[in-house]
Amino acid sequence: MSDEASSAGAIEGADNVNVRPLALVARRERLLMIGLFSPAFLLMATFVVLPIAWLFYLSFVDNAQFSTVHYSRMIEYSSYYKILLTTLRISIIVTVICAIAGYPVAYLLAQLAPPWSIICLSLVVIPFWTSLLVRTYAWLVLLSSNGPINSFVEWLSITDKPLELVFNETGTVIGMVHVMLPFFILPLYSVIKSFDWSLIQAASSLGAPPISAFARVFLPLSLPGLVAGAVLVFVQSLGFFVTPAVLGGGNVTMVSMKIASNVQNYFEWGASSAFGVVLLISAFGVLAIAARMLGLERTFGMTR
């Protein structure tokens, strides 16, 4: 009994002896983490947070005075509201199409064996290295009323009139999906690649047919990749300029185009930055709604 007590006491004593060095190690580790974290933090603060704060500040300045004129202008002219809606609508459509078209591609890529997986992956990535302008103008030629796609459709004699594929939202969406697809496929691919396939075997061994094994095991576990890709595509789509300008043929106006127009039209930066602020807030709003619908933690890829 006394033996036991003394040995327990010895362990307690050893604990007390270790407290200080352990705390020291913990503190050092925390400092190290802060040290490792600080370059990224400083970078973000200097190049993201500060400029956005500056943008916000400028949107309330007119003639070097506080003013809400740049916001009241957006209420006075309904065009701002319509342009914002168009931008959000196009971005959502592009995101949905990217998800539908990109998911099977990412799935296939993750299934392929080395020579083919590398070939197919480079096919996905190659467009990255081609100039955006070149790709956009290539679509203009492909989609035009006497372009190859319409010639093919006419040859099939499906319609007697050429399809209106360009100089409208259709053309804009086609061009944007082409640009954005890799941004969807790559994050999803990396998640699917690390998927543990024995889970599917486990599901099958428990009697799940392939479809429910996919729907109830694979799909939920691939959601973080899907959401990461979708957020990436959506947010980037909001800022598109060249593609809607060229393939929209002037019939599609997105926020960035109006911002550019305002930079030239008004001497005050606020005229442009105010619309930027509104876009930023609307984007957060849409993401918040999406987060609520999907469950917040999934939106930001935090679940496994």
Binding site: R73, Y77, S78, S79, K82, I83, T86, L132, L133, Y137, L140, V141, S144, S145, N146, G147, F167, Q236, G239, F240, F241, V242, T243, A245, V246, G249, G250, N251, T253, S256, M257, K258, I259, A260, S261, V263, Q264, N265, Y266, F267, W269
Partner: protein, 341 residues
């Protein structure tokens, strides 16, 4: 994706004109075939004469100038834009005051220069058409262009308030001499009538050329020399100067340029008839200098085809930079509003 990448398309090129101690000077203008002609007519000979090494950048608008002047970090020296942009920039303090004891303005067309800018080329937004698809019955006025029943075919206009408001008023029956001051409501109402028939709106001159070459556009309101250029490439395009909307390019020196004195001497060369005549010869654009025909560089045939030829001048109207400086912001906001409808 970024506006700067598209609109400014800032491609820096440097032409070394002399190996020893040539002074560097930056020149900013729109790109494409226009820039090529500017190089041949102005930059190369004048660079040689004044021993200048040019740094050329391209921009379709003055956004960069605004950024530089606002930040105090000015790297541009001489810029060339459209007249309304120069006039607006001048009213907002973007440019240095010009010294007309150095720059000789006696031969320049009245109205083509001010305290802050001086005219370069003269161009016109004209009614052009595809001779294969619309050649049998071509539109001869903006009213014809607006009349889609009598003049069937796909159409394109410029996606800017400037020029299009004027065209819309003439289409609605306003006599050319009564276009200014522009009745915004009437102009927008007129544009609303043609909008459903406009297949595509062009933004850059290059785009207008692309539209008539490959975009399946039968009729277009576009810059005369741009249409000459596609026609000389073999595209079946021609145009009329009837109710053309004349405008001019202009040179200005950016406020705070570190080469103000040299820039002033360069502008003094730019306005001379010999260089401006060469530009007209190369590009089919008119010139601010009224004495270009005296240089002997312009053939009689070309003289007749310039927008500034007397027969053509009387069929066109001059855009009014004054009106645009005073009403531009509101007019452009209304036009953007109309485009988003």
């Amino acid at each position: 994706m970024r506006p700067a990448a598209f609109l400014a398309a800032a491609v820096s090129l440097t032409i070394a004109t002399s190996a020893v101690a040539a002074e560097k000077l930056s020149y900013v203008t729109s790109g494409g075939v226009y820039l090529e002609n500017i190089k041949k007519a102005f930059l190369e000979p004048i660079g040689k004469k004044l021993d200048i090494e040019w740094t050329i950048e391209t921009a379709d608008n003055d956004t960069q100038v605004r950024v530089q002047v606002a930040s105090g970090n000015v790297t541009y020296d001489i810029v060339e834009f459209g007249a309304s942009q120069c006039a607006l920039g001048a009213s907002q303090g973007l440019y240095e005051k010009l010294d007309y004891s150095i720059i000789n303005n006696t031969d320049l067309a009245p109205g083509s220069f001010s305290d802050y800018y001086v005219g370069s080329t003269v161009f016109s937004i004209v009614i052009a058409w595809n001779t294969k698809t619309a050649g049998a019955n071509p539109p001869q006025s903006w009213a014809d262009f607006w009349n889609t029943e009598k003049f069937p075919g796909t159409r394109s206009l410029r996606k800017t308030a400037r020029g299009m408001l004027e065209a819309a008023l003439m289409a609605d029956g306003v006599p050319p001499e009564k276009v200014y001051p522009i009745d915004l409501d009437r102009a927008i109402a007129s544009l609303r009538k043609i909008k459903p028939k406009i297949k595509a709106w062009w933004l850059s001159g290059a785009e207008s050329q692309q539209f008539v070459k490959e975009g399946g556009i039968d009729m277009i309101g576009a810059f005369n020399a741009r249409m000459d250029s596609v026609a000389s490439d073999g595209a079946p395009i021609t145009y009329t100067f009837n109710q053309g909307i004349l405008d001019f390019g202009c040179w200005a020196i950016v406020k705070g340029s570190k080469k103000g004195d040299l820039s002033m001497r360069v502008l003094a060369e730019f306005v001379k008839a010999e260089y401006q005549a060469e530009m007209s010869r190369l590009s089919n654009y008119g010139a601010a200098n009224t004495k270009i025909l005296d240089t002997g560089k312009i053939s009689p045939e070309l003289a007749k085809r310039l927008p500034t030829a007397p027969d053509n001048l009387k069929r066109q109207i001059f855009a009014n930079p004054e009106w645009w400086v005073q009403n531009g912001a509101k007019a452009i906001e209304r036009f953007d509003q109309f485009m988003a409808e």
